[in-house]
Amino acid sequence: MIELAGLTKRFGSKTAVDDLSFQVRPGVVTGFLGPNGAGKSTTMRMMLDLDNPTSGSVRIDGRHYRDLDEPLKYIGALLDAKSMHGGRSAYNNLLCLAQSNRIPERRVAEVLDTVGLTAVAKKKSKGFSLGMGQRLGIASALLGDPEILMFDEPVNGLDPEGIHWIRNLMKALAAEGRTIFVSSHLMSEMALTADHLIVIGQGRLLADTSMADFIRQNSRSFVRLRSPQWEHLLDVLARNGITVTQTADGALEVDNGRIERLGELAAQHQIVLHELSGQQASLEEAFMQMTAGSVEYHAHSDTGHGPPPAPAANWGESYRAKAQGPAGNVTAERSASDGEGV
């Protein structure tokens, strides 16, 4: 169990981490989600006692990191920045770590095998590709066979094969009963791996919830309608007091609409429908709403979140650019249940 209490870190006038309190519970994968610059890496460095908190504290099973005996046997960590000596072989990089925590030397060969680097064990790590470097970092995290594992953006810069490998590795480690704390700026990545979710924005805690609850509470559900007689349909809906938004592709969306009632209304007025489907907003949209909400909250700190504001533009851009590929599946899976059967 890792406990953060009022953890705060200021760099000059910039508050990178702002009064953060949460617990990382054992035996599950906890996702640590936030846009770039939200303070995830800084939080993780403070957990490992690399950065000193401005105030607040971190306790690991009740103890400060500095008081742990042979810490590699409690916590293994993969940091975001490079953290190995490039002029040393992969084997020797791991060997010196093993020796400092009295880990038997055979573990070095074992973890190199686990991450698939046995063939390049004697090669200098300087020449490693991004993916190989990431694997070496993971090998060092696994070296002490620790109960807690922390990964800072482990999939960053990896090819699809590497991403797949890391995802499966984390699941396998969690299945063994270990505590996994993994950060990401990609909601889709978290949805695939995390059971529990901690969301931060601008260093502040925005959500501490199970993945399922997060999805339930944060995704907008709506009914989508398409009709060649859309003007007539708009009329009918307006007369029945139903608010409609029109999308760019000519479809109509009714927030929290009841699909049966909308279908019946159309039938009554003999309107042809080309589409009538229940939809759920994607997870990335929910996440963007939440982080955009944090910006809103900063501006007027007297009220609550209010109506969900438009997602911050810059953020959405970068997300969409990266959300191609495997990311899309999640959204599809989750909305499919409502979408069919009408």
Binding site: P71, H85, S100, G144, A212
Partner: protein, 278 residues
């Protein structure tokens, strides 16, 4: 997809994973083993020590050969002082290795991993200091010892050194040069930048002498004299019995001075490591 957090059975034991590797408090011994692996597994160690050996042996022997060939009479000059220039140049290698022992960890980012594995800053600094100092001391003692033997065998025109002279020119010189390396290690920890720290240390070695050379004004005579006598090359020369003046430090005093400075620098390095973000 993995089990959602909520679906864990309420009473189920969570986080049941227990590592089969037993845990006990880490010790300085483990840190020493780790640092020994680190220092022997990078090429910069081989390079700096290799060049050091070449300089001390090469220049020491050349000097002996030159004295023999020219039939010059060394007069009062102690025989072993022929080894001085080799060691003075070689000390730059020791400085470099001392700085790299810690500053290269900052350059590569290794320091984050090191301190995650061993969060005690005092233990890391102590282990690095001990491993570096012993390695440097052994190598410099072997080199200066070998050079002294060869010089004693080759040069007949000078008096053979006494036991005390031999001891100072080998063990004394090695202690002094290795302590200088330890000071470099502390400076490397403070500056966290290899090239910067090496430059600073070369400045520390050379600058007082250079400054003294340019102090012509009679009013500065006292300062000039002090810079001369307390500069590192002059203090190193004391161990060869060939000090530049009669008034400066003598005997083992240079080692005490450098030792005190180094202890203070190491104290500063520890305070910095302890309070700084990595």
């Amino acid at each position: 997809m993995t089990t959602p957090y909520q679906q864990q059975a309420p009473g189920a034991p969570l986080g049941t994973y227990t590592s089969p590797i037993p845990v006990r408090p880490a010790s300085l011994g483990d840190a020493l083993a780790s640092e020994w692996t680190k220092i022997r597994s990078v090429r910069s160690t081989m390079w700096t020590l290799g060049v050091l050996i070449l300089l001390v042996l090469g220049i020491g022997l050349l000097a002996a050969v030159a004295v023999n060939a020219s039939d010059a009479h060394m007069g009062d000059t102690p025989l072993l002082s022929l080894g001085f220039y080799g060691v003075l140049l070689g000390s730059i290698c020791v400085i470099t290795l001392g700085v790299l022992t810690i500053a290269s960890e900052y350059g590569t980012g290794m320091i984050r991993t090191t301190l995650t594995a061993c969060p005690s800053r005092a233990r890391i600094l102590a282990a690095k200091s001990v491993v570096f100092f012993l390695l440097s001391f052994v190598i410099v003692t072997l080199c200066t010892g070998l050079v002294a033997m060869l010089q004693m065998g080759m040069v007949s025109s000078a008096e053979q050194p006494t036991g005390s002279q031999l001891f100072k020119a080998t063990i004394g010189v090695s202690l002094y040069v290795s302590t200088l390396g330890l000071l470099s290690l502390a400076v490397g920890a403070l500056i966290r930048h290899s090239a910067g720290a090496i430059t600073v240390m070369i400045g520390v070695v050379l600058l007082p002498l250079v400054l003294a050379l340019f102090m012509f004004a009679p009013s500065l005579e006292g300062v000039r004299q002090a810079l001369f006598e307390y500069s590192i090359p002059s203090q190193l020369a004391v161990f060869y019995g060939s000090s530049v003046s009669d008034s400066g430090p003598t005997g083992w005093t240079p080692l005490l001075i450098l030792g005190a400075v180094t202890a203070a620098a190491l104290g500063g390095a520890f305070a910095a490591l302890n309070s700084r973000d990595v």
